[in-house]
C-alpha cells in the first residue's frame, strides 16, 4: 500500500471504498453463478418454448375474454389432439433426420376413407378405422421405401407424395361427392369419440397424450427408438455402429403415416365433413410445432414432450388469431413467421448454447482478504521466506506425477497418489524402490490410515475410498445429501480433497468445490465464493452428511487431537479454522488463523503436538486486488485465453508450523521454486518431513533436527500396535 496510516484518505481511496462496498452487496445479492449452472442443464432447451407459451397465454387471455374458459379449452383440446398425433409422427421422422410433407394429404385421405367405408360402403366402424390407418401406413411405406431404401431426398419425395395423394383425394371426392354426402355414420361409439370430453380434454387429446407417453418410452427406452436418434444424430456413425439405417428410416415414415391417418380418423369423427381443404397446410403447422418445441430439424435431438409443448403453442396462437377475427390468411402468415423464428432460434441456440454456458459458468464474487502478513526474506516474521526446502532430497523423481498427498504407515512405507489414478508405495529405508499399491482410477488427493491399518483416500471425481492392507478397494462414499436450493446436483462428490478420522471412526472429509471438476479445480480460485463443504462419513451405517457448507475451497483436515474438534484449511480464503463435532462446543466453528500470506493446503500433526500446514502458493497484491473486483475477473475469463488468466502465485510454496492458538511458529520455503514450488501436503515421520505437490514430479524429504526421531502418525492416532 502506498498510502500509510495517519495521512488523510485520498479521493482514490474513497472511490475504491465505495466501489468495494458496492461490489460486496451487488455480488452478495445477485447470484450470478446460477446463470451458468442453468445454461449447462439439459432441460434448458425447453426454456424458450415454455416462455413462448406463457407469454402467448398471457397476451391472448388479456386480449380475448373467456379464453381460458372450459368450452374454449375443450375446443383447443380437439385440435390439439389431432395436431399432437400428427406431430408425434413428424417428431419421429425429424429425429431420424428426415421430414414428412405428405402428412396433410394422408390426413385428408384417412378422413375420406373412414367416412366412405363407414358410411357409404357400410363397413363396420373398426374395419373402416383400420382401413384408414392402413392407408396412412401404406403411403408412409411408399415414402419410406423411396427415402430409406432408394435414398431419395426426403423433402422432394414427400412433396411428391403429398401432391399425388392430394390428387387422389380430390379425384375421389369429386367422383363420389353425392354418395358420400348422403350417408352418415350412425354409431354411439363414433359420437362418443367425437364429442365426449373428460375435464375439458377430448378423446383425441387423451389418446394423443397416451401415445405421447408411449412414444417417449419408445424413443428413450427401446432399441428402435435409440436407433432412430442415432441415425438422426449421425447417419454415418449409426451405420458404422451396425444399425440398419435404411430400415430405421423406413419405419419412421410408416409410423408418421399411420399417426397422421389416426389423426384423420379423429377429424372425421369430429366434423364428418369432406371439405376440399381438409389437411391443407397441416404440414406447416406441424413442422412449426415440432421445431418450436425444440426438436432440431437436423435430427438426433428432441423429444415428443417438446412437440407437445410446440403443438399447444401453435394451437393456442392460431385459435386465438381466429377468435380475434383476423382476416383469413393472417393465420398462415403468423405461422410462417413463427416457423422462421423457431428455425432461426434452433440454429443459433444449438450453436451458441454451449459457448454461452461455458463463458458464463465462471461467476466471480467480491472477496476482500485481510491485509497481507509480511513474508519478506531475512526478517523476523515467522513467515519469512527462506530456502529450507530447496535442499529437500527427492524421492521417486520422474516416477511420480502429482503426489498431492503422502502418508506413512507403521512399517515406514510411504504412500502417495498420482495423476494416473494409482496409489504408489515406496519402501524404506531409502525409498528408492516402489510398487503400484493399488489402482483406483482417479486423482488421489487425500490419504489417511485408520485404526485397522486401512488406507483411506479422497479421490477427485470419485469420492471416499478405502484400500485394505491386502489391496482390496472399497467405495465408502460418493454422495451426500442434496441441498434444497442448489441448481447443480450437489449430491455427487465432485472433488473430495482431504480427510481425517476421528477416534470414533467417523471420517471427516472436505469437498473443495461443488462447481468444478478435478481438471478445473484451480479455476475455482477466480470465483472467490464458498463453493466447498465438509462432509462426515459414518462407517456404522455408511451414510454421509454435509456438516459445513459455503467454504472457500476447504482443503486440509486434521484432528485437533482432543477428540472433539478438527482443524481445516480454506485454500482460497487463506485461513485455518477449527470445528467442534462433539463436546460442549459441538457445532461451533472458530477461525484460528485468519490472515495467512499464502494459500493453505493439507494440515497434519507435528511430533511436538503442533501442526504443519502446506502452502500451495502465495498471495499477490495484484490477485488480491482482482479478488475485490469481480467484474474484472469475469471479463478476464470471457476475453482472454485460459493459460493467460491471472491466478494466485503458485510458484513459491512451503510449510508453516502453527499451534491451536493460531500462533505461527515458523516456516520452511522453497524460495527459488525449483524443487517444491507448490507444497500441497507434508507428513512428519521419525524425524523427517515428507513433502507432496500436486504439480510436482517428486516427493521431497528433509531432516528435522529438532523433531522426535521415534514419532509416527499412526502410533499417535491409534496407539501402539496391539
Amino acid at each position: 500500500m502506498t498510502t500509510s496510516a495517519g495521512t488523510t484518505r485520498s479521493n482514490q481511496d474513497i472511490r475504491s471504498g465505495w466501489a468495494d462496498s458496492y461490489a460486496h452487496w451487488r455480488y452478495r445479492l445477485v447470484p450470478d453463478h446460477i446463470v451458468g449452472e442453468i445454461l449447462s442443464k439439459n432441460w434448458i432447451d425447453n426454456a424458450i418454448p415454455v416462455l413462448t407459451l406463457v407469454i402467448s397465454l398471457i397476451a391472448f387471455s388479456s386480449l380475448i375474454p373467456n379464453m381460458l374458459s372450459l368450452s374454449s379449452v375443450s375446443d383447443i383440446s380437439h385440435t390439439s389432439g389431432e395436431y399432437l398425433l400428427v406431430g408425434l409422427g413428424m417428431t419421429i421422422v425429424v429425429l431420424a433426420g428426415g421430414i414428412d410433407l405428405s402428412i396433410g394429404s394422408i390426413f385428408a385421405l384417412s378422413n375420406l376413407l373412414v367416412l366412405a367405408c363407414g358410411g357409404f360402403l357400410g363397413l363396420p366402424l373398426w374395419l373402416s378405422i383400420l382401413i384408414a390407418i392402413a392407408s396412412g401406413g401404406i403411403i408412409g411405406a411408399v415414402n419410406g421405401l423411396l427415402i430409406g431404401f432408394l435414398r431419395l431426398r426426403a423433402f422432394l419425395t414427400t412433396l411428391v407424395t403429398m401432391i399425388v395423394v392430394r390428387g387422389i383425394v380430390d379425384t375421389l371426392q369429386l367422383r363420389y361427392s353425392t354418395e358420400l354426402s348422403s350417408f352418415e355414420i350412425g354409431s354411439a361409439t363414433w359420437d362418443f369419440v367425437a364429442f365426449y370430453t373428460f375435464k375439458g380434454m377430448s378423446i383425441s387429446f387423451i389418446v394423443a397424450l397416451f401415445l405421447t407417453v408411449l412414444a417417449h418410452l419408445f424413443l428413450t427406452r427401446l432399441r428402435l427408438g435409440w436407433h432412430i436418434l442415432a441415425v438422426g444424430g449421425s447417419r454415418r456413425a449409426a451405420f458404422n455402429a451396425g444399425i440398419d439405417v435404411r430400415r430405421t428410416v423406413f419405419i419412421t415414415y410408416v409410423l408418421s403415416g399411420m399417426l397422421a391417418a389416426l389423426a384423420g380418423v379423429f377429424y372425421a369423427a369430429r366434423l364428418s365433413s369432406l371439405g376440399s381443404d381438409t389437411g391443407v397446410g397441416l404440414e406447416i403447422a406441424i413442422i412449426t410445432a415440432v421445431v418450436l418445441g425444440g426438436t432440431a430439424l437436423g435430427g438426433g435431438r428432441g423429444s415428443v414432450f417438446k412437440t407437445l409443448l410446440g403443438v399447444i403453442i401453435v394451437v393456442v396462437i392460431t385459435n386465438s388469431l381466429v377468435r380475434l377475427g383476423l382476416r383469413s390468411g393472417a393465420s398462415p402468415l403468423v405461422l410462417g413467421l413463427m416457423l422462421l423464428t423457431a428455425v432461426a432460434i434452433d440454429v443459433r441456440w444449438l450453436k451458441n448454447r454451449h459457448k454461452a454456458a461455458q463463458k458464463s459458468y465462471v461467476a466471480p464474487v467480491f472477496f476482500a482478504l485481510p491485509a497481507m502478513q509480511s513474508c519478506a526474506p531475512g526478517t523476523a516474521s515467522p513467515y519469512a521466506i527462506n530456502t529450507a526446502l530447496g535442499a529437500a532430497e527427492p524421492i521417486g523423481l520422474g516416477d511420480v506425477d502429482a503426489p498431492e498427498d503422502v502418508v506413512l504407515d507403521r512399517d515406514d512405507n510411504l504412500y502417495c497418489g498420482s495423476r494416473d489414478g494409482d496409489v504408489l508405495r515406496f519402501f524404506p529405508p531409502d525409498y528408492k524402490r516402489y510398487e503400484v499399491f493399488a489402482h483406483i482410477g482417479g486423482s488421489v488427493l487425500g490419504l489417511a490410515i485408520d485404526r485397522a491399518g486401512n488406507l483411506l483416500a479422497c479421490v477427485g471425481g470419485m469420492g471416499l475410498y478405502q484400500i485394505s492392507p491386502d489391496r482390496e478397494i472399497t467405495k465408502l462414499s460418493d454422495e451426500t445429501n442434496r441441498s434444497l436450493l442448489s441448481v447443480i446436483d450437489d449430491s455427487r462428490l465432485r472433488l473430495a480433497d482431504d480427510l481425517d478420522i476421528a477416534p470414533d471412526g467417523k471420517v471427516y472429509f472436505s469437498e473443495a468445490t461443488i462447481r468444478y471438476d478435478m481438471h478445473d479445480w484451480i479455476v475455482d480460485a477466480l470465483e472467490g465464493r464458498g463453493n466447498g463443504r465438509i462432509i462426515r462419513y459414518d462407517p456404522s451405517d455408511g451414510s454421509s452428511r454435509t456438516i459445513i457448507r459455503n467454504l472457500q475451497f476447504p482443503n486440509g483436515i486434521c484432528m485437533a487431537m482432543d477428540g472433539e474438534s478438527f482443524l481445516f484449511a480454506e485454500t482460497w480464503g487463506c485461513r485455518i479454522s477449527r470445528h467442534w463435532f462433539a463436546g460442549p462446543r459441538k457445532g461451533k466453528t472458530e477461525c484460528v488463523i485468519p490472515d495467512l500470506p499464502g494459500y493453505p493446503d493439507n494440515i497434519n500433526l507435528a511430533s511436538d503436538g503442533n501442526f504443519w500446514c502446506g502452502m500451495i502458493g502465495m498471495r499477490t497484491p495484484a490477485f488480491d486486488l482482482a479478488q475485490r473486483m469481480p467484474g474484472f475477473r469475469r471479463r478476464m475469463v470471457m476475453r482472454i485465453a485460459r493459460d493467460e488468466w491471472l491466478y494466485p502465485n503458485m510458484n513459491t510454496g512451503g510449510v508453516i508450523k502453527f499451534n491451536l492458538q493460531g500462533e505461527v511458529l515458523g516456516s520452511l520455503w522453497d524460495q527459488e521454486g525449483e524443487r517444491h514450488p507448490q507444497v500441497t501436503s507434508m507428513r512428519e515421520h521419525k524425524g523427517y518431513l515428507y513433502l507432496g505437490g500436486i504439480f510436482n514430479n517428486r516427493i521431497g524429504r528433509i531432516h528435522l533436527p529438532d523433531a522426535d526421531p521415534e514419532w509416527t502418525g499412526p502410533t499417535t492416532y491409534w496407539g501402539e500396535k496391539s
Binding site: 500500500m1 502506498t2 498510502t3 485520498s10 482514490q12 481511496d13 475504491s16 466501489a19 513474508c375 521466506i385 506425477d401 484451480i522 502458493g617 502465495m618 499477490t620 497484491p621 495484484a622 490477485f623 486486488l625 482482482a626 473486483m629 474484472f632 471479463r635 478476464m636 470471457m638 476475453r639 482472454i640 485465453a641 485460459r642 493459460d643 493467460e644 488468466w645 491471472l646 491466478y647 494466485p648 502465485n649 503458485m650 510458484n651 513459491t652 524460495q671 521454486g673 525449483e674 524443487r675 514450488p677 507448490q678 504439480f695 510436482n696 514430479n697 517428486r698
Partner: protein
C-alpha cells in the same frame, strides 16, 4: 453518438478496440533460444545504451560509462555520473552525446567526461533515445513528459502519449520540438526520408518526414520496441518487453488499472517488466505455473528478450530470442560492430555477443 454506442457494444462483446489480441510470434519471429546461447561479454547491473565508438563498444550501467576494448575482454569504467545514463549516441566525427535521467544532455569526448558540454532544457527531461543526423544535429526522444525514464511502466499503464521528438541544432545547441503526442518514442533513426521512430506503446515503427507527415512502416509488433540501429544494409530493432493478453486486457480495464497503480507496488503490477527474476509477490498466470519443476518456455510472461533484424524496407527477416524460461530479458539496446552483434540485456544484467551469420547481414535471406 453512433461511435459511442459502438464503443459500448464493443466493450460489452469484447470486439473492436476492446478485443484483446496479441500478434503471434510466427514466421520470422518464431522463437528460438539464440540469446540464451550467446556469449556473455560482461556482467553488469543494468547494461544499456550500446554504441560503436570507433570500433569499440561503449555502454552504460546506471550512471557508469564503460568502454569495452576491442577483444571484448577488458571492460573499463570511464566515468560515473550522478544520475543514470538513459540515452547515448555517437556521430561520425567521434562526438559522444549522453542523456541523463534528470534531463541534461552532455556532449563531448568519452575520455573527458568532466569537460562535456551540458545542455539543459526544461521540456526535455526524459531523454530515452538519441541519434545524430548526418548533418550533425542530435535527435532526442523524450519518452514521456509526465513520467521519468524509470517510471516507464506507469507511463504505459496510464496509457500516456506524451512523448516527443526534439532536435538539438548547431553549435549553439538550439533546442526545438519536431513531433509530439508520441506514445513513448524509445528509439530513433535518421534516414534520408525522415526520422524513423519506434513508438513503444503503439508497438510500431513510424516514419516522420520533414513535413511532419507520419507513415507507419511496421505495425503490430508482438512486443514493445526500443532502440533501432542500422546494421549492414538493414536494421536491428530491440523489443524490450512482450505484449501479453493479460496486460492488453488490463490496459482496457481503467478502474482496475487506477486501483492497481494506487494500491500495488510497481514491481508487482500486471505490467511488462525487464527482468525475468521472479518474486513470490508477482502476479502469476495459469500457463506460468511451474510444473514438474519446470517453467515452460511458452508460458505467458511479463518479460522477454528479443532482437529483430529488419531488412532495408523495415520488414523482419530474422529474430533472436530469450523465451519465458530464459535469463536475458529486457533487451533495450544492441549494436553491430564488424561481425559481432552486441546485445544489452538490461533485465538480465549482461552484455551478450552473437556471431552474426553472413546470411542475415544484407537483410536478404531469400
Amino acid at each position: 453518438m453512433i461511435s459511442f454506442l459502438r464503443q459500448a457494444r464493443d466493450r460489452f462483446l469484447g470486439r473492436g478496440e476492446a478485443a484483446v489480441t496479441v500478434p503471434p510470434m510466427d514466421g520470422t519471429l518464431r522463437p528460438d533460444s539464440s540469446l540464451e546461447r550467446a556469449a556473455i561479454v560482461t556482467r553488469a547491473d543494468q547494461p544499456d545504451n550500446l554504441v560503436n565508438y570507433g570500433g569499440e563498444l561503449l555502454f552504460s550501467d546506471g550512471g557508469g560509462l564503460f568502454r569495452m576494448e576491442a577483444a571484448g575482454l577488458n571492460c573499463r569504467q570511464l566515468h560515473q555520473f550522478e544520475e543514470p545514463i538513459t540515452a547515448m549516441a555517437v556521430n561520425a566525427a567521434g562526438l559522444l552525446a549522453i542523456g541523463l535521467a534528470g534531463g541534461a544532455i552532455l556532449m563531448g569526448c568519452p575520455e573527458q567526461c568532466e569537460t562535456m558540454q551540458r545542455i539543459v532544457h526544461t521540456d526535455l527531461d526524459c531523454p530515452v533515445a538519441m541519434a545524430f543526423e548526418p548533418q550533425g544535429d542530435l535527435i532526442v526522444c523524450q519518452g514521456s513528459s509526465l513520467n521519468g525514464p524509470d517510471d516507464w511502466q506507469r507511463d504505459l499503464m496510464e496509457r500516456r502519449t506524451s512523448g516527443a521528438l526534439w532536435r538539438v541544432r548547431g553549435a549553439d545547441h538550439k533546442v526545438e520540438r519536431i513531433a509530439s503526442d508520441l506514445a513513448y518514442p524509445f528509439g530513433v533513426l535518421p534516414m534520408a526520408k525522415g526520422l524513423v521512430v519506434s513508438e513503444a506503446w503503439r508497438h510500431r515503427l513510424l516514419l516522420i518526414d520533414p513535413a511532419g507527415k507520419r507513415t507507419i512502416l511496421l505495425d503490430d509488433l508482438p512486443g514493445y520496441p526500443a532502440r533501432l540501429v542500422p546494421a549492414g544494409t538493414g536494421y536491428l530493432l530491440c523489443i524490450f518487453a512482450p505484449r501479453s493478453q493479460l496486460i492488453e486486457f488490463v490496459l482496457r480495464e481503467k478502474r482496475f488499472r487506477d486501483r492497481m497503480l494506487h494500491e500495488v507496488e510497481p514491481q508487482h503490477w500486471i505490467a511488462p517488466t525487464l527482468t525475468s527474476a521472479r518474486s513470490y509477490l508477482d502476479p502469476m498466470q495459469g500457463g506460468g505455473m511451474i510444473t514438474h519443476g519446470q517453467l515452460k518456455p511458452w508460458a505467458p510472461t511479463r518479460s522477454y528478450g528479443l532482437v529483430i533484424r529488419l531488412d532495408a524496407a523495415m520488414q523482419p527477416v530474422a529474430s533472436y530470442h530469450s523465451r519465458a524460461d530464459g535469463r536475458f530479458h529486457g533487451v533495450t539496446a544492441c549494436v553491430e560492430i564488424q561481425d559481432d552483434l552486441f546485445i544489452a540485456s538490461k533485465g538480465g544484467g549482461a552484455v551478450l555477443k552473437l556471431a552474426v551469420e553472413r546470411l542475415h547481414k544484407g537483410g536478404d535471406v531469400a
